[in-house]
Structure formats: structure tokens, C-alpha cells
């Protein structure tokens, strides 16, 4: 929508706008929510949307159906997708030509296009409505409450869903301490990884600013440097105003008038939506001076990060914001006291901020009742609310999921994620991003919350969840993450810089079949030093992949070292390809082999020359008869 229609509003206008927008929606038979999250956009989501609009117009249906581009629906595996609201009919894996069919058959003819519905690969059942799809049934949407229901680029959609009323409530209560109490009582803990009780952080910041008579800043951490994670990006793309409203409430509670969003440059769509949201909020007087006519001033500026993982760390982030190299500093002096520009600074994660308005809308009791833990026993005892995870890897339903704290890994991976594809078996799940840990099958019934994950040797991190099947080699996985972290270490402190490099070397050596028995003790010992002696949490958590792998999968290391064998068949120097009797002699592999290592007559069993084979794995991939084996 263009901003020209927007004008400054005051506190009594929110309901009017909501009513007008809802009434507008009500005039349509249905709204067609086309996902334009990054995942769907990459698969031509914009084309689908445009086609939908033009087809509807072509059929003269523009007064009956409204096309809305939404942020990420979450079920990225099924994208590009569109959902009809309010009926909830869920169309998936759309191509432009499918759109014609939907418009003709469904919108005009009133018949659901079954072909484009979702069929569960496990149960093989077809589901018409989104809410019946197992991927969605077990989710509980709090941070992502507006997911797929609004146009993120239209502030009035957010208002129509009750947006900015929490802010109004907090402003009219006009009691910052009470607002902080409310957040404390909700049991909300930081979603950026540390799980620090948000209310506690706010309280110390407010106190520091007051005592020193200094300004205080609030900052939103949207750096999200973990590979494979896209929770924060999706929230910003789906519902940017929930973050802004959270920041506004936080700012009022701590007494801040200046806020910042630190967002990585590699998130172009999120950036656009964020900027647009800021612009619209500013135009409507929801940012700036005298917000909602209620006497509170606050504005937000965007800082773009250049995408170093370590820049997500709080002190490095603030250094980067100040134009200095993004390197962490010792945390003996806290950012809440001396942060950006050496002033008290409240840094919270995107998802943390997005949760804040709900706490005021529905009450801290309601929020605390979701999840596990008991915040009444102290701020650190809460594990309230939900957590958004990006569920990826070897799992049927990849995508963004939001579940109550305390749901088990099994429920997330098997019920929501639909289990492991291709009939393979579950091996491990890496939670918490690159410096999380790999948890084995025996941990599947672990309740997912801040404390139990840490106990198990992994962590919540910001919510990455990578599922591995039996074809993943745990040593190789550990090496992969350590390699990432070696590259992303800022290099400032010795244990992280030199230690990760040595860990990486040792793991590579083991994967190459050069490991020696004393390597295991070395990995263990060195990991302990890196974890204990590093300056910041990057180094302190970096050995997790190694330590957890050693804890749960020691035998696999031993196979690499003692038997020079990679049980998962991944580590190239340790494997050989061969062809079994299942071979039908179709010659596909022989044709595709880049080094002509495969020979054999048509319709006769083929053979691989181990001298010529470079272990690229193409044969394994292309064989339709599972006749290629890894030895």
C-alpha cells in the first residue's frame, strides 16, 4: 500500500482502523494468501502472486477475491504455496499454470483442486486444509501469530489483528516498572540463544541509566549468522510490526528514546519490509514524537551488518554498530550498563521482541502457562512460551515451526517434521546452530527448553535444528561445524583462534584416515580448554559439536581411527564404491562417471575400478536400483 493514505493517528484510532480493514476483508468471498517469504520467492513466489492477481482480474473476480502477499508461511518444503482464508484450503508446490486451474476450478467453479493439495509422504493422506496437515497441527503460534494472515507491508493489516493495542495499554498504564514486572512474570527468556530472563535485563538497564543519568538504547539483534537458520529473518519478513511494537514497549519500560535494528545485509527482503514498516509506523505517529498522542518519544534506526557470525554476539555487535571491528570484548562489564556508545543498552533478539506485545495483550499468566518451568520460583526457572525452530536437513517437512517450550525432540522431528525421508533411519539432530551439539536417538525424548538442551551437551541457540540420517558421518559433521567456526572465529583470543584451528586439523586428519589413538584424548582436552578459556561465547560454545559427538558417538570416531573405516560411508579416503548383484546393467552410472571408472556390458553387472574412482558419488546418486554400495 502506499504511505500517502496513512496519516498520524492517536490512541482512539486503532479500533477504527481495525474495524475498517476487517470490514474490507469481509466484503470478499475469500482472501488468497500467497506466500512471499524468501523460500517461496526463490521458487518464483512473486510470479505466482502476480499470476493469481491477473487471472482473477481476467475472470472478473477482483471484487470477490483479494490476493495478499504474506511473509513466510513456514512450510517451506511445500512452497511456493497459497492459502485461502478463512477456509484454510492449502495449495502447494504451485507453478504458474496451476494458478489458472485454481482460479477457474476453485474460485469460479467452487471445486477444490485436489491435485494441488498436500499429501503426507508418511501416511499418504491428502489434506485439504492447512490446519489438518500434521506439520501445522502440533504448532502453537505466538511469535508468529500473524504468519500468513497479513500483508507484512501493510501496517493496517497488523492493526486489524490487534496490533499496537499492547503498546497503547502500556503507555496508558504509564508505569514502566510495572511493565517490567509483567515481562518478568511472563517467564520470557532471550530467544537469541543465551536464554537470559528478559525482564531482568530490562530492569538492570533501567537502573543503570537512572543511576548514571544517561540515555539508554534498545537494540534488536537481527544478525542471525547461523548457517541454516532463518527464524529471525522470517519474523521480520512476516510480521515486522510485532518486532517494532515489542521494541516500543521495551523502550518505554526501560526509558529509552532511541532504538536500533542490527540486521544483516544478506537479508534484502527482510530489510525492505523492515524499512517499509518503519516508514509506515513513522507516518502514523507510532514512531517519533508523542507516539499515539500519549507523550512518549521513540524512534528506530537500521544498522546493516556485513554478515560475520561473531557480529551477532552482543559486544561485537555494538562494536560493529559503532563502526569498529566486530570483535567481542570481555563481559565483565555488561552491555546493559556500558553498551553502545558506552551507554546502557538493551539488546534482544528479534523473536524475543516479537513475543513482547503478546505478553501484554494476553497477560503474563497466559504466557507463563505455555511451556515448561515455573517462573514463580525465579526468573531463571521459567521456560515459558514457544520457540521457533528452523527444521532442516534429513526430515520430510522442512520449514519454520513454532512449538511450546518443552515439546520433545521426537514430536518436533517425527510428528511435525514427518520423520526421515526415503525410509532411512534417524541418527542425530544438531540443535543450537553450528556451536550446538549433536544429540542421538537416545535423546529424542528430551524436552526442548533452554536448560535440558544445555544439560545434554547441546544448546537452544537461536533455534536451528538440523536432522541427520544414518548416511551422515558424525566425525564429518563435527568437522564441518568446527570448520565453519574456525572461519568465523574473530581471532582475537588465543584459545578460540589457535584451538579451533587445531581441532579442525585433527578432525580433518581423522576423516582422512590419518587419525591416531591419542587424537581422541587431545580433542577432548583441547575442547575443554577452548570452552573454558575463550573470551566470548563463540569460542566457549564452539567445541560443543566435538564434545557432544565424542559423548554420544565415540565408537564412530574409533572406527575412523582404529579400523580406518567410515561407518556412514561419507569420508572419502575411507570408503570404496562397489556394485552389487542388484545391478541391471542399465549403464547409467557408467555414462555419468566423470573418470570412466565404471565398466560393464549392457544388461550385465558392472564393476568400478578403484584406481580410477575419485569417489565423487555420482553412481550412488544416479543408480535407480540401489546397486551401488559403499564399503
Amino acid at each position: 500500500m502506499s504511505n500517502h493514505n496513512l496519516k498520524p493517528i492517536d490512541k482512539s484510532d486503532l479500533e477504527k482502523i481495525a474495524a475498517r480493514v476487517r470490514e474490507g476483508f469481509g466484503r470478499y468471498k475469500a482472501m488468497i494468501m500467497v506466500c512471499t517469504g524468501t523460500g517461496c520467492v526463490a521458487a518464483k513466489g512473486f510470479d505466482i502472486r502476480d499470476k493469481m492477481t491477473s487471472e482473477i482480474e481476467k475472470h472478473g473476480l477482483q471484487n470477490e477475491y483479494l490476493v495478499v502477499s504474506t511473509g513466510c508461511n513456514g512450510f517451506c518444503a511445500a512452497g511456493p504455496l497459497a492459502v485461502l482464508q478463512p477456509s484454510g484450503v492449502f495449495y502447494q508446490k504451485l507453478k504458474a499454470k496451476d494458478v489458472e486451474e485454481i482460479v477457474e476450478k476453485h474460485l469460479q467453479g467452487g471445486q477444490v483442486v485436489t491435485r494441488l493439495l498436500y499429501t503426507d509422504p508418511v501416511t499418504e493422506k491428502t489434506h485439504e486444509k492447512m490446519e489438518d496437515i500434521p506439520f501445522f497441527t502440533k504448532q502453537q503460534l505466538v511469535a508468529l501469530r500473524n504468519k500468513g494472515l497479513i500483508d507484512p507491508e501493510n501496517i493496517e493489516h497488523y492493526i486489524a489483528r490487534g496490533g499496537y493495542t499492547a503498546l497503547r495499554k502500556v503507555l496508558s498504564d504509564n508505569d514502566p516498572e510495572k511493565a517490567i514486572d509483567e515481562v518478568l512474570a511472563s517467564g520470557l527468556r532471550g530467544r537469541g540463544g543465551g536464554g537470559f530472563p528478559t525482564g531482568l535485563k530490562w530492569r538492570s538497564g533501567r537502573k543503570a541509566a537512572k543511576e548514571r543519568g544517561e540515555p539508554i538504547y534498545v537494540v534488536c539483534n537481527a544478525d542471525e549468522g547461523d548457517p541454516g537458520a532463518f527464524m529471525d529473518r522470517s519474523i521480520v519478513e512476516t510480521d515486522p510490526h510485532s518486532v517494532l511494537e515489542g521494541m516500543l514497549i521495551g523502550a518505554f519500560a526501560v526509558g529509552s528514546h532511541e532504538g536500533f535494528v542490527y540486521i544483516r545485509k544478506e537479508y534484502p527482503l527482510a530489510l525492505v519490509r523492515l524499512e517499509r514498516a518503519l516508514e509506515q509506523a513513522r507516518t502514523m505517529g507510532l514512531l517519533g514524537k508523542n507516539i499515539l498522542g500519549m507523550g512518549f518519544d521513540f524512534d528506530i534506526e537500521v544498522h546493516r551488518g556485513a554478515g560475520a557470525f561473531v557480529c551477532g554476539e552482543s559486544s561485537a555487535l555494538m562494536a560493529s554498530m559503532a563502526g569498529k571491528p566486530g570483535e567481542p570484548r570481555a563481559k565483565y562489564v555488561h552491555n546493559v550498563e556500558y553498551g553502545y556508545r558506552d551507554k546502557p543498552t538493551i539488546l534482544n533478539n528479534v523473536e524475543t521482541w516479537a513475543n513482547v506485545p503478546v505478553i501484554f495483550e494476553k497477560g503474563s499468566k497466559w504466557f507463563a502457562s505455555i511451556g515448561t518451568g515455573d517462573v514463580s520460583k525465579g526468573p531463571w526457572n521459567g521456560n515459558s512460551g514457544t520457540k521457533v525452530f528452523s527444521l532442516v536437513g534429513r526430515v520430510n517437512h522442512t520449514g519454520l515451526v513454532e512449538v511450546p517450550m518443552g515439546m520433545t525432540l521426537r514430536e518436533i522431528i517425527f510428528d511435525i517434521g514427518g520423520g526421515i525421508p526415503d525410509g532411512r533411519s534417524f541418527k542425530a539432530v544438531q540443535t543450537g546452530g553450528p556451536s550446538g551439539g549433536c544429540l542421538p536417538e537416545s535423546c529424542l525424548d528430551l524436552k526442548v527448553d533452554f536448560d535440558s538442551l544445555t544439560e545434554a551437551g547441546s544448546m537452544m541457540g537461536s533455534g536451528g535444528m538440523i536432522v541427520m540420517d544414518d548416511r551422515s558421518c558424525i566425525v564429518d559433521v563435527a568437522r564441518y561445524f568446527i570448520n565453519f567456526l574456525t572461519d568465523e572465529s574473530c581471532g582475537k583470543c588465543t584459545p578460540c583462534r589457535e584451538g579451533l584451528f587445531a581441532l579442525n586439523r585433527t578432525l580433518t586428519k581423522i576423516c582422512d584416515g590419518q587419525g591416531t589413538p591419542d587424537d581422541l584424548a587431545f580433542l577432548e582436552e583441547l575442547s575443554q580448554t577452548v570452552a573454558a578459556a575463550s573470551l566470548c561465547q563463540l569460542g566457549a560454545s564452539a567445541p560443543n559439536p566435538v564434545l557432544s559427538a565424542l559423548r554420544y558417538f565415540k565408537a564412530e570416531f574409533e572406527a575412523h581411527i582404529n579400523d580406518k573405516r567410515c561407518p556412514a560411508g561419507v569420508c572419502k579416503p575411507l570408503i570404496q564404491y562397489g556394485i552389487t548383484d542388484a545391478c541391471t546393467g542399465c549403464v547409467v552410472c557408467a555414462k555419468r562417471c566423470p573418470t570412466q571408472a565404471i565398466t560393464g556390458e549392457k544388461k550385465a553387472k558392472h564393476a568400478i575400478s578403484s584406481e580410477k574412482c575419485i569417489k565423487c558419488g555420482v553412481c550412488l546418486e544416479v543408480c535407480k536400483f540401489d546397486a551401488v554400495e559403499v564399503k
Binding site: 561473531v310 565483565y332 581471532g491 588465543t494 583462534r497 587445531a502 573454558a532
Partner: protein
């Protein structure tokens, strides 16, 4: 007062200053931990992690780096706990594996009981004994000593390496050698190619001590790096020494409008702006993008070079408590090439005369000139530059104005002499010296007139209280003018002598010596010796200066100044001239009458009390002059004795000629 915290280190109870770093406590308790990235004069960055220590706080144990862990609450520290020792050994192995031949690393390994780093040997192992070990001393020295950022690290993780911007030699490098000085391995070396000093190392050592003090002490002392001399505004106002309304008063309720806090907020920050490249104090400050409101450059955005303390105080002396006025005044004085002090003091005199009715709008060309008339001050300044109107008179200075007004307007000459703050034709600089006999002498006995370059004693007398007795003051008037002359002789800045002082200066020395800041004087002597090869001590330094100083006095005599009558200041510099002045500080003056003069003030009217105090103070001053002249080897009329000239080896016929008629 710093709060002390009780902690135990390896079981030994010790007290530490709250907020101080743990490493200091560990070391002063007689224990040690290995350190590599720590340097006593640099902000700890906690990167080598070798100083790892275990602390127990509220029943929970954790590891911290001692070098940058601030002690805030009682805790138990162990520097030898099992995990600490284990991790340290591992760290030492990392270092030894990567840089096996660097002596500093070998030393660390030995301290940690490590002999073998082979587990960390790799393609990155560097055999060079002078390899860079990434400790970061140099980058911090560059920034903290010299306020430059020429050196920094580039490359993430294991690729971290030292570099200048874009890996090219950076022209901003001023060659201060700080980085090489602090480098523990010799990875950075110095090529001496300038000026052929006799002993460059000696010079560097002396210079680096200054740098280190600036980096470590300035922040808690005068904050010269942040605000320059503007810090003095606050101090002087607090001690009733800031000239207000032509030196009538020493403080003003509006002084906060031009104090260091306000000025700091307007000064461009974070850039080194020294008089010389490489000055680590860099006290020169500028106000950038200042839009002028008057004069020929009205509407231009300019860079104002200053203001310094004296200019701010000149403003207060004129009653102009307005930062924007101050900047504009500063800018135009600089642009027109007139001295902010002379203009300020002269205008303050004009304003007092105007308020007293000595002159009126008739004489000023229609300008109203009460204290605080900011716009009018600027107008007069512009007139002065254009050679028009009343500005022309003001530009001629107080001495000329006093004459003219007495002669032509029939003003009371005695009154004008009392309040016209000039001597030997020069306007006073901006300190109220009424309560400091030492500073009265410092101003009035100065050869070229009442500036404080020769003897800035106000601080040591009134703030630091280092000159308690009459003799101390007289001796200070012998020593300091000579010491300060020595700076001029050698072309050296004196601010690093006393605008930052060693932390233990007043503990180590008795007050009169502390005032000299002996450690710094020695630093200058070392510099002199490093430059020339000639050793220097106090006697020889005083001799060098005394030759010049006495020669100057002889010339002054030749020019018709340089005798006792020229050394007698206007009374305003010695005490309250007017009833109003007296009454504004009645309690103080009454007490002095009682304690020092020995008369009971009760029942006396103010005019009488003014007279009594004046007689006493003028008497004190004359006594001081007697003692100082004698100490300097001068006649009772203030002229160098020929025997003194002989002693100094400057009894050349031409010089003797200048003073021979004044001998007793």
C-alpha cells in the same frame, strides 16, 4: 574515597580498591600469573587468556582473566586451581607450537611448565624468533598513546595478522615508535633517521613515559585529551579563582554555561589535534562547523581553534556566559590576530568603568557596555579590526585608556589604577590572584608583564596547597620562572610537565618538592641528554635559564621597565578594591583581618576594613618582593647585581652598561 574490598587470593586475605583489576591484587599479594597480552600502561584486552584464574563468587566457581576482571565484591581467588593450571598449559602449548623460537613465548612456556608444543605444530608454525604473536600491544599503543589508529589487525580467526589500512604503508603514521617500544618480540623495529640525536633510545624512553602517563592517568586527572585546558574553568570556579566581572569575583552561578562539560559537547572528539605530530596529550581542541552570527564572515560555517581556558575565562571576566559568544569571540580574535586575553581583560575593565559611570554611551559611540554585553563586545572587536569608533581606543589597551580617561574625562586616576588590570603595559591573564601571594608575585614580577607563562603558581598555591609558608612562596618565585624559562630555551611544551603528574607524586615528595614534579623534571633532563649528549641536573638547568632570565631583565631595564615600581601590581590583583567586593566575601576577609592582620573587624565599617586589609596585603607584597629580589641576586630596586652577572658569566660590557647606574 575509593572503597576497599576484602578478597582472598590463594587463601591469603588482601584488600583491593573496588573496581580495580584482579591482576594488580594478585601481584601485590606476592603471587604471579603468566601474562602476555597485558602491558602495564595499556588497557587490558584479555586476549592471551594466560592470566586465567579461578574465582569463587556466591558459592559459584568460574574462570576469569585476572588482567581485566574488575573486583567489585568479596571473592576467593585461586591462581593455581587445577583447571586453571591445565588450561594455561594448553595455551602455552598453542603458543609454543605456533611461535617456538620467540623468547617471550619460551618464557611463558617455562612459567607454565611446558616444553613441547608439537601438538600445535602446523603449516602456520613460524620459526622467526621475532615473529608477531598477536598480543595487540602495538595496536593499543597506537590508539592509546598517540590517539592514532594506524595499526590494527585484519583477517578473521587463524588469518588474523597485523596490518596498516589496506596492507599499505599508512601516511598517517607519524613515526612515534610507540608500537615498537611496547612490542615484546621485536617484530616491529625502528629505523632512526631524523635529527641525529646523540642517544635515541634515551629520548624514546623518556617520551614513552609521557605517553604511558597520558594513556593511563589523564582520564582521571585533567582530561587534557578530552577537553584540553577547558577543565580549568570548572576547577577555578570551584575554588573562587575564576575571574568574573573584571576580577572582582572568583566564581559565578552561570559558569556552568561555559564549563568543560559544555565545551566537551561542542569540541570535535576522537581526533588527535596536537601542536606537534605525535603529541600524546593533544590538548588543542576545535569546535567544528560553527556558524558565525556577526562580522565579515557572518553565515559562514567555520572551525574555531579553541577555546582554551584563558579565552573561556576572559569571557567570564566580561560576564559573557554564553558558549556561542565564546566561540565567535575566539574565532574573530584569532582571525584578526588579536590576543583573546588582552581583549577580554581590557573589555572587562571598560565594562567596569562603564557600570561605574567613568565612561558613558557618549564615549563609547552609543554602545551600552555593562558586563555580559556579548553583542557589543563583538561589535567593538569588529570596530577594532576596521579601525573605527570606540574599538580603536579599546585596541590600545588598558594603560592607554587609563591615561586618556583621567586626562580627558577627568576620571579618578587612582581608582583606574586599582581596577585596570595591566602591568608594564600588558593586560593580566585570567586568574584571580587576590588570595595567592605567590601568584601576585608570579604575575607582577614577570619580566614581560602579568602573564602566567613565567610563574603559574595559582594551582600549586591555592588548589594543591603546596606553598604553605612565605618562604615557600618566595622560593617558588625563584625556581619556577627559571624552570619555565628553560622550556622556552629548548622549545619544549610545558603542559606534559604538570598537566599530568605521576600517580605517586604527592606521596613520594614533600609538598614543595612535589610542586616541581621531580620525576618529570628528570624526564626533561634525560631528553636533553639524549638529544645533546650533555648531562643535566637542577643546578645546571637553573644556570642555563638564569643567564637568559637576567639578560632579559637587563634589557627590560634598558627599555625603561625592570625596576621595583614596575613590579607593583594594581590593587585589584591583591585584594578587594571596592566595598561591594569586600562584602561579597566578607566572612573570609573578616577572618583574615582577625587572624592575619590582628585587628578585630567588629564594629568597623567596610571602607575601613578595606583600607586595613589593603595596608596589610600591600605590606606583605613588598616583603615578598624584598626576599625574591635578594634570592635572585638583584638590588632592592629589582635590578640584577653586577656580581650576579659575573657569577653567571654574562658580565659583558654591553650588559653591564645597562645596569651599572642602578647598583647600590
Amino acid at each position: 574515597m575509593a572503597q576497599m574490598i576484602d578478597i582472598t587470593i590463594n587463601g591469603k586475605p588482601v584488600q583491593v580498591i573496588q573496581g580495580s583489576f584482579l591482576l594488580g591484587a594478585v601481584r601485590s599479594a606476592g603471587f604471579d600469573v603468566p601474562t602476555l597480552c597485558h602491558h602495564k600502561d595499556l588497557t587490558p584486552n584479555g586476549t592471551c587468556r594466560l592470566c586465567l584464574s579461578e574465582i569463587e563468587l556466591k558459592g559459584r566457581k568460574r574462570l576469569v582473566t585476572a588482567c581485566n576482571y574488575p573486583v567489585r565484591e568479596p571473592l576467593c581467588v585461586s591462581t593455581t586451581a587445577e583447571p586453571v593450571v591445565k588450561h594455561r598449559k594448553m595455551l602455552a602449548q598453542m603458543y609454543l607450537g605456533r611461535w617456538p623460537n620467540v623468547p617471550a613465548i619460551q618464557n611463558i612456556a617455562e612459567q607454565c611448565g611446558v616444553t613441547d608444543g608439537s601438538r600445535f605444530k602446523s603449516e602456520l608454525t613460524e620459526e622467526n624468533p621475532k615473529a608477531c604473536i598477536l598480543c595487540g600491544h602495538c595496536t593499543r599503543a597506537c590508539e592509546e598513546f598517540t590517539l592514532e589508529r594506524v595499526l590494527d589487525f585484519a583477517g578473521r580467526g587463524i588469518k588474523r595478522h597485523l596490518t596498516m589500512a589496506f596492507g599499505e604503508p599508512d601516511s598517517h603514521c607519524i613515526g612515534c615508535t610507540s608500537c615498537a617500544y611496547v612490542c615484546p618480540t621485536g617484530a616491529i623495529s625502528v629505523v632512526d633517521a631524523l635529527n641525529n640525536p646523540k642517544d635515541p633510545v634515551k629520548i624514546r624512553n623518556a617520551g614513552m613515559r609521557v605517553n604511558a602517563e597520558m594513556a593511563t592517568l589523564d582520564q582521571s586527572q585533567c582530561r587534557m585529551r578530552d577537553v584540553g585546558t577547558a577543565n580549568i574553568v570548572d576547577v577555578m570556579n570551584r575554588y573562587d579563582l575564576l575571574p568574573v566581572h573584571n576580577y572582582r569575583f572568583g566564581s559565578h552561578e552561570e559558569a556552568f554555561k561555559i564549563d568543560s562539560k559544555v565545551l566537551k559537547s561542542r569540541f570535535a572528539q576522537g581526533a588527535a589535534d596536537g601542536c606537534w605530530l605525535g603529541c600524546s596529550m593533544a590538548c588543542a581542541k576545535t569546535v567544528d562547523h560553527f556558524e558565525l552570527q556577526t562580522g565579515p564572515y557572518k553565515g559562514h560555517k567555520v572551525c574555531v581553534d579553541g577555546p582554551e581556558y584563558e579565552t573561556a575565562a576572559a569571557s567570564s571576566n566580561m560576564g559573557c556566559f554564553d558558549a556561542d559568544f565564546l566561540f565567535e569571540f575566539n574565532f574573530y580574535c584569532d582571525t584578526y590576530g588579536v590576543d583573546t586575553i588582552s581583549v577580554g581583560t581590557c573589555m572587562a575593565f571598560v565594562m567596569e568603568a562603564f557600570e561605574a559611570g567613568v565612561i558613558t554611551e557618549k564615549h563609547t559611540g552609543g554602545l551600552k557596555l555593562p558586563f555580559g554585553a556579548c553583542d557589543e563586545v563583538l561589535e567593538i572587536l569588529h570596530q577594532m579590526a576596521r579601525g573605527e569608533g570606540f574599538g580603536v581606543d579599546v585596541g590600545k589597551g588598558i594603560r592607554w585608556l587609563k591615561n586618556k580617561w583621567a586626562k580627558e574625562y577627568g576620571a579618578d586616576a587612582d581608582y583606574l589604577r586599582d581596577i585596570g588590570m595591566e602591568l608594564k603595559g600588558l593586560e593580566y591573564s585570567e586568574y584571580v590572584s587576590k588570595e595567592s601571594l605567590a601568584q601576585q608575585g608570579g604575575y607582577a614580577l614577570a619580566t614581560k608583564g602579568p602573564q602566567h607563562d613565567e610563574a603559574w603558581l595559582i594551582f600549586m598555591d591555592m588548589v594543591n596547597k603546596q606553598l604553605p609558608t612565605f618562604e615557600d612562596k618566595a622560593e617558588a618565585l625563584y625556581y619556577f620562572p627559571l624552570w619555565r624559562t628553560w622550556f622556552g630555551l629548548n622549545g619544549l611544551c610545558k603542559l606534559i610537565w604538570n598537566d599530568v603528574v605521576p600517580a605517586d607524586n604527592s606521596k613520594k615528595h614533600k609538598p614543595q618538592d612535589a610542586a616541581k614534579i621531580p620525576d618529570h623534571v628528570r624526564g626533561y633532563f634525560e631528553f636533553f641528554e639524549g638529544m645533546t649528549g650533555t648531562a643535566l641536573d637542577e643546578t645546571r638547568m637553573l644556570e642555563q635559564s638564569a643567564r637568559v632570565y637576567n639578560f632579559q631583565r637587563c634589557i627590560s631595564r634598558m627599555l625603561g621597565f625592570g625596576t621595583r615600581k614596575d613590579d607593583i601590581p594594581p590593587y585589584r590583583s591583591m585584594g578587594p578594591v571596592t566595598v561591594e567586593e569586600y562584602e561579597s566575601r566578607a566572612e573570609r576577609y573578616d577572618a583574615q583581618l582577625k587572624d592575619q592582620v590582628g585587628v578585630d573587624p567588629t564594629g568597623k565599617n567596610t571602607a575601613e576594613k578595606v583600607r586595613l586589609l589593603r595596608a596589610f596585603r600591600e605590606g606583605q607584597y613588598q616583603k615578598l618582593v624584598d626576599v625574591v629580589y635578594k634570592r635572585r641576586g638583584w638590588t632592592s630596586n629589582g635590578v640584577p647585581k653586577i656580581e650576579r652577572l659575573k657569577e653567571l658569566g654574562i658580565d659583558l660590557p654591553e650588559i653591564v652598561e645597562m645596569v651599572k647606574n642602578d647598583q647600590e
